[in-house]
Symmetry: C2
Subunit: 360 residues, 2 copies
């Protein structure tokens, strides 16, 4: 039996140990005789799970005490509205960094709420780099950036100073892949379906002094302050998704935390980018210093070979390598749960495929 | 080993057959080699699952073609905002029926959006009946009612005529428990965590002509029209929750559909209400014709016995019988997945407990 490796961008593969535990406990969680799916979110057992998950995430990302951790619904897309609705605080203007599809979506939604200024952009290049200089308005409410562009494969590895202006970050596809300086941010948010858990859960980490000034006329559920006061249980939370996330956090701690994952993620990405760069079949146009460690998009020098590439890859157990429908091409996502052996298998296949088709 | 029956109000017990299938497929869904948790929502296999789930729900509830079926996030609480944001259509006023905690919450949220008129209320009685006459304003945008009050145990078994005014219904705790005349409604919505599936999924059934006039300045994700255009995939949907719901829909069809469930649900509720009414220990104050078939709240003539009741019930495998923290007392939820044998076991225990403590 060939080992199977899922390179999909999300909902993405989770650690096998997590699947096994979820499977084992499906009909009897913690000896309760109940499935985790039917445990009340108000029960002492679930509250304990929830509090431990928050504590584990705080430990993993070294989150300062004056930040709230919220487990919400609606994905990053809901946050595209909630960030301006909460963080504008009467300022009426926000600055955005434009680096690909996901920052574009955030910008489009923010324009419903305020005067948006593009403080830096790589659009003219076709999104091939992460801008190093930002023209931030000093009186802007916040600066929003997308830590990792899942579709374009561009990642910020350093950030310019923004002084007193809070940073707002969509970290959906890179959270927990490496350490992050939370204290430089006003807010960090992430859809769970890459490095955290199932689709349908969103993690928000928000500085307490930025809460409590939500725009009038918005839905109650948009208000971070209200959600924090109810410890993410203003309404019934996605309990199963939180349970899976709690198992992923435990697994991450067992792996040595995000510093250990960062080392492994560097090794995985280097192996794949090396394979691409030394080949005359595979092409990645992102500037080397801004390449994503999580999502590696590439094209073929002969695009007519794409279908055959995907067919053969699948036969080798290398799945979901098709690029996003908006940009085409191919893409390998290397989230935390992707083992080094998966990237080795991919690179072996890619080398063979290139040679077989007359490339090096 | 004592059989275990979970009477919790939600997240509630799902059919055992569903747990077993989810467990069996956890590491390999449909022979894909992938867990359902890591399948792309854009994959042909998942789209097929999604379309089948929508088709099964349409069949189960006999949903007319001019209604959209949406699978969303945020629970009924999100719908408390989305209903006025979409259905007001410039009218600026909406009528609400007040029958308990959940309609109270819907009313509170609607007041952020419009002039709310209480067209009927049972508040003065302590929420012990479902009003039969409603004083609906003829120029109101819609009339909202809560089909079943999960906490107060009051259910609408008939509805007055509202003429051309659309009905908006929170059906969270009674959807799929019996047939419903969808065509009398402008919109029906339901959090999944009672009769549909895991917490974190919300089903919305909305008449097409009521979409497309969302209030300005609201988040994009509030707009039913936008969500319908993207077939519930404007952003990544809660894929695992939709998968579980699809299994529940299949199970419901195997049971004979909602008409068969209605018969069973009547038998279950009658057995329990008979036990309560013939006893001088147990008390349910809801008017008999308006009692809920899904949630049966009751108190003890000697409230000091509650703790002992819960302790002994748990020892008999009868779980989560504690009433909602806002009203206290006890509550047995009898959703579709509760077998008749569960209610028999509960009634046997309740009869014994009453006798043991000097009651009949």
């Amino acid at each position: 039996v060939t080992a199977i490796f899922n390179f999909g961008a999300g909902p993405a593969a989770l650690p096998r140990a997590v699947y096994l535990q979820a499977q084992a406990e499906m009909l009897d969680w913690q000896g309760s005789g109940l499935s985790i799916l039917e445990v009340s979110h108000r029960s002492a057992a679930f509250i304990a799970l929830y509090e431990q998950a928050v504590a584990d995430l705080r430990e993993l990302l070294d989150i300062p005490a004056h930040y709230q951790v919220l487990f919400l619904q609606g994905g990053a897309t809901a946050q595209f509205s909630m960030v301006p609705a909460n963080l504008l605080r009467g300022k009426g203007k926000a600055d955005y960094i434009q680096t690909g599809t996901w920052s574009d979506k955030a910008i489009l939604e923010a324009r419903r709420y305020c005067d948006v200024h593009i403080a830096a952009s790589s659009a003219a290049s076709g999104y091939t780099f992460a801008p190093k200089q930002w023209a931030v308005r000093p009186d802007t409410a916040y600066v929003h950036y997308t830590a990792n562009e899942t579709i374009h494969g561009v990642e910020f590895h350093t950030l310019p100073e923004t002084g007193a202006v809070p940073l707002a970050c969509d970290m959906s596809s890179s959270i927990l892949s490496r350490p992050v300086d939370v204290a430089r941010h006003g807010i960090i948010y992430a859809g769970a379906q890459k490095n955290i858990g199932p689709a349908g859960l969103t993690v928000v980490i928000v500085r307490e002094d930025l809460m409590g000034q939500v725009l009038p006329g918005q839905p109650a559920m948009v208000d971070y302050q209200l959600l924090a006061e109810h410890r993410s249980m203003y309404n019934t939370p996605p309990t199963f998704a939180i349970y899976i996330a709690s198992l992923v956090f435990k697994w991450l701690k067992q792996q040595g935390g995000v510093a250990a994952l960062q080392v492994l993620n560097h090794r995985k990405a280097e192996l794949l980018y090396h394979c691409i760069d030394q080949s005359n079949l595979y092409i990645n146009r992102v500037q080397p210093q801004d390449r994503s460690l999580m999502n590696v998009p590439f094209t073929l020098d002969d695009p007519g070979l794409e279908t055959e590439f995907l067919r053969q890859a699948e036969a080798h157990g290398l799945l979901q390598l098709k690029g996003h429908r908006s940009v085409g091409g191919l893409r390998a996502s290397l989230y935390n749960a992707m083992p080094f052996a998966g990237v080795q298998a991919l690179v072996r296949f890619m080398d063979d495929f290139a040679r077989t088709h007359g490339f090096s």
